[in-house]
């Protein structure tokens, strides 16, 4: 399908939704803030569902669905590493202990990012077909 007027209209709607949402946030404490925020979010949601509607028109993309659960596990591991590092700052006082826990956290994040996620996406990659 490539670029179409439908995509252009969808992107315009998306921008208008974001703009009105932001105006609503900026003036949240005033009388008009909350209605504008609600209106903006509605337009925002409409734009997303508009995108969903025109998505199949794109045609056959050279992608196959990967392992969905593995993707979530990979993202979870990446985030878990960060939590380990942060919690380590709280439970340990010494510099050495914090250093070790920070490195453990980084290692866990990297496992999710560089091992689990690529494996999830490559499991059914088109080049394997």
């Amino acid at each position: 399908m490539a670029a179409t007027t439908g995509q252009g209209r969808g992107f315009t709607t998306f921008l208008i939704g974001l703009l009105i949402t932001c105006v609503g946030i900026a003036y949240y404490s005033t009388g008009m803030g909350k209605p504008l925020l609600a209106l903006g979010l509605v337009i925002f949601a409409v734009s997303l569902f508009g995108f969903l509607k025109i998505k199949p028109l794109e045609g056959k993309t050279p992608m196959k669905p990967g392992a969905g659960a593995m993707k979530l596990i990979g993202a979870f591991l990446a985030a878990l590493g960060w939590v380990i590092t942060l919690y380590g700052m709280h439970v340990v006082d010494g510099t050495t202990g914090r250093l070790i826990l920070a490195l453990v956290g980084i290692a866990v994040s990297l496992t999710g990012m560089l091992y689990v996620l690529p494996a999830a996406f490559n499991k059914n990659a088109i080049w394997k077909a």
Binding site: L18, T61, L80
Partner: protein
């Protein structure tokens, strides 16, 4: 005998008395004398000696009569020039110098967009040139709009207190949370649409400077996903990144957020230190690029069935190298400009920052070129360009805190890291990154963040401290291991938060919009289907190699 002893004591006593008296006389002038303020008479005399209008009308070829006391504005013409007038002018001059410095450096950074466009488009095939250039062009608008609407407020809305730019007092509301008995900044709240109190001269300067930094991060992603990223999804993704992903981390590091408070709250050095953005700009861009590149998948024909990869050669190496030079030029705005001033508060270190930047770029080039030449047989052109950028990316965080020798080491290591990383990402992860953006900006950005914790030499002193902690930023090799921990916490946040946030956000866009163009579009080249015209309409296209057509048949089967 006794008489002699008495005489000796007498002489000794007299000597002591004379010595004490002499010391008193010598010490007296050293005592701080109260500085006598210039009297109104002195100011009037100076004013009277200033060249007259008639003198100035004769011209001033030597430049000795232009810019005198008569150019100092007088608040009350009846009393004439006062000390208050002079002091106000000094303050205006300081802020004026810093405004000018920051703005000009911001203009240089803005020009880096041209460099990115040339590098990325040059490394792509000719059939995608218009699309790649257009992504680099439009990302500027997408990012700017989103940043003006909400991104700037999230990042800098609580960043008041920078005396270089007059205090930035309208940006005084950071949303805090209390955790583990401490208060931590999470996001700023002032400055949406630059309206209300943030319609302020200082805020405008910091907005411009921070905006061009943000746009640099956004444009990194376009390189990693070039030649197959749907223009619509790119546009939406870029708006969301400029509105949320970048500003959140930038607030934590630069906008009075929790990473900058690691020093004051937990005693971890000076907190997370990232002078000009190896982490904030480049790692955020590089890690988001990795997240999107994973989702969007490799180009048709990039990998064979056995997992081996095929080189897909870019169409214009001259554009790549000219783009690299434009980027290196713009980096002189990126790093030295991050002092946010040239006057007061230790800002004269700008010369050192600029030289560090230059040297790291140089050794980065050598690192990559020699690695490729010695181990692969050729001084690879595109990898040499990436080596220059890798050195520049790596020195961005430590440029304000390290010596020239250390900057050379940092750049050299980055030049080698980028070669390893490109090979690892392509051959081990099977992630297709046409321009090496994930390696240049992601991997070398993380190395730059780490290097602050290793190489900061404790000689910088920006107004007495950094991130509210007195003293100079000092790394492990100069005696402060806690600074290294703060940097590791920053790296963990980049990997654990920024990457995951970007990944989930773009996975959502994959569901609603879809990142990838169709196989037909990709094979035809994105220029006509996505942009409506070719980048080079008078070029004659060569047929794709057989490996590509075979891969296409597999892709659409």
């Amino acid at each position: 005998m006794k008489l002699m002893q008495r005489c000796c004591f007498l002489i000794l006593g007299l000597g002591l008395l004379v010595g004490v008296a002499a010391y008193g006389q010598a010490a007296a002038p050293a005592a701080p004398a109260a500085a006598a303020p210039p009297s109104a008479v002195e100011l009037k005399d100076t004013t009277a000696k200033a060249p007259s209008t008639a003198d100035l009308a004769k011209g001033d070829p030597a430049g000795t009569s232009t810019g005198t006391v008569s150019d100092v504005p007088v608040s009350d013409s009846k009393t004439g020039l006062t000390l208050g007038d002079v002091a106000s002018q000094v303050g205006q001059n300081k802020i004026g110098i810093n405004f000018t410095w920051t703005l000009v450096c911001g203009f240089l950074v803005m020009f880096m967009q041209a460099g990115f466009a040339m590098v990325e488009a040059g490394l792509c095939r000719v059939k995608n040139a218009n699309h790649t250039y257009m992504m680099n062009f439009f990302v500027y608008g997408c990012g700017l709009l989103a940043y003006w609407m909400i991104g700037f407020a999230i990042q800098m809305g609580g960043a008041a207190g920078n005396s270089n730019l007059g205090g930035l007092q309208p940006l005084n509301t950071e949303h805090p949370i209390s955790l583990f008995g401490k208060t931590w900044g999470i996001f700023g709240q002032n400055g949406m649409f630059l309206a209300g109190h943030t319609y302020d001269v200082g805020v405008m300067v910091i907005f411009l400077f921070q905006m061009v930094f943000m746009d640099t991060a956004l444009t990194i992603v376009t390189g990693a996903c070039a030649e197959r990223w749907k223009f619509l999804t790119f546009s939406v993704s870029s708006v969301l990144m400029g509105a949320f992903t970048y500003p959140i981390f930038a607030n934590w590091a630069w906008g009075a957020g929790w990473l900058s408070q690691l020093g004051s709250n937990l005693g971890l050095g000076h907190g997370y230190c990232d002078f000009a953005g190896s982490g904030v700009v480049h790692s955020v861009g590089g890690l988001t690029a990795l997240a999107v590149a994973l989702i969007v998948g490799p180009r048709i024909g990039k990998f064979n069935r056995d997992g081996s990869s095929n080189p897909i050669i870019g169409h214009d190496i001259s554009a790549v190298l000219i783009g690299c030079f434009i980027l290196a030029f713009g980096w002189f705005g990126f790093n030295p400009g991050s002092t946010l001033g040239a006057s007061a508060n230790g800002n004269l270190r700008i010369g050192s920052v600029a030289v560090d930047t230059m040297l790291a770029g140089c050794t980065g080039t050598f690192g990559a070129l020699l690695y490729m030449w010695a181990l692969k047989g050729k001084p690879d052109t595109s990898m040499s360009g990436n080596g220059l950028l890798a050195g520049l990316v790596a020195i961005t965080a430590p440029s304000g805190f390290v010596s020239p020798i250390n900057s050379c080491i940092i750049g050299l290591i980055a030049g080698v890291v980028v070669c390893w990383s490109v090979s690892f990402i392509e051959n081990v992860l099977k992630v297709d990154d046409p321009v090496g953006a994930i390696s240049v900006h992601g991997a070398c950005g993380l190395w730059g963040v780490l290097s602050v914790g290793l190489f900061a030499d404790g000689t910088s002193n920006y107004g007495g401290g950094w991130n509210g902690v007195n003293g100079s930023v000092t790394g492990l090799f100069y005696g402060d291991a806690s600074q290294l921990v703060a940097q590791l916490v920053g790296i963990s946040t980049l990997l654990g938060f920024v990457f995951t946030f970007s990944f989930v956000l773009n996975l959502g866009l994959e569901f609603f919009v879809g990142h990838r163009v169709s196989a037909e579009t990709e094979m035809a080249g994105l220029d006509i289907p996505e942009m409506g015209q070719l980048g080079y309409p008078e070029f004659v296209f060569h047929p794709e190699p057989e490996v590509m057509t075979h891969a296409h048949a597999m892709a659409v089967a």
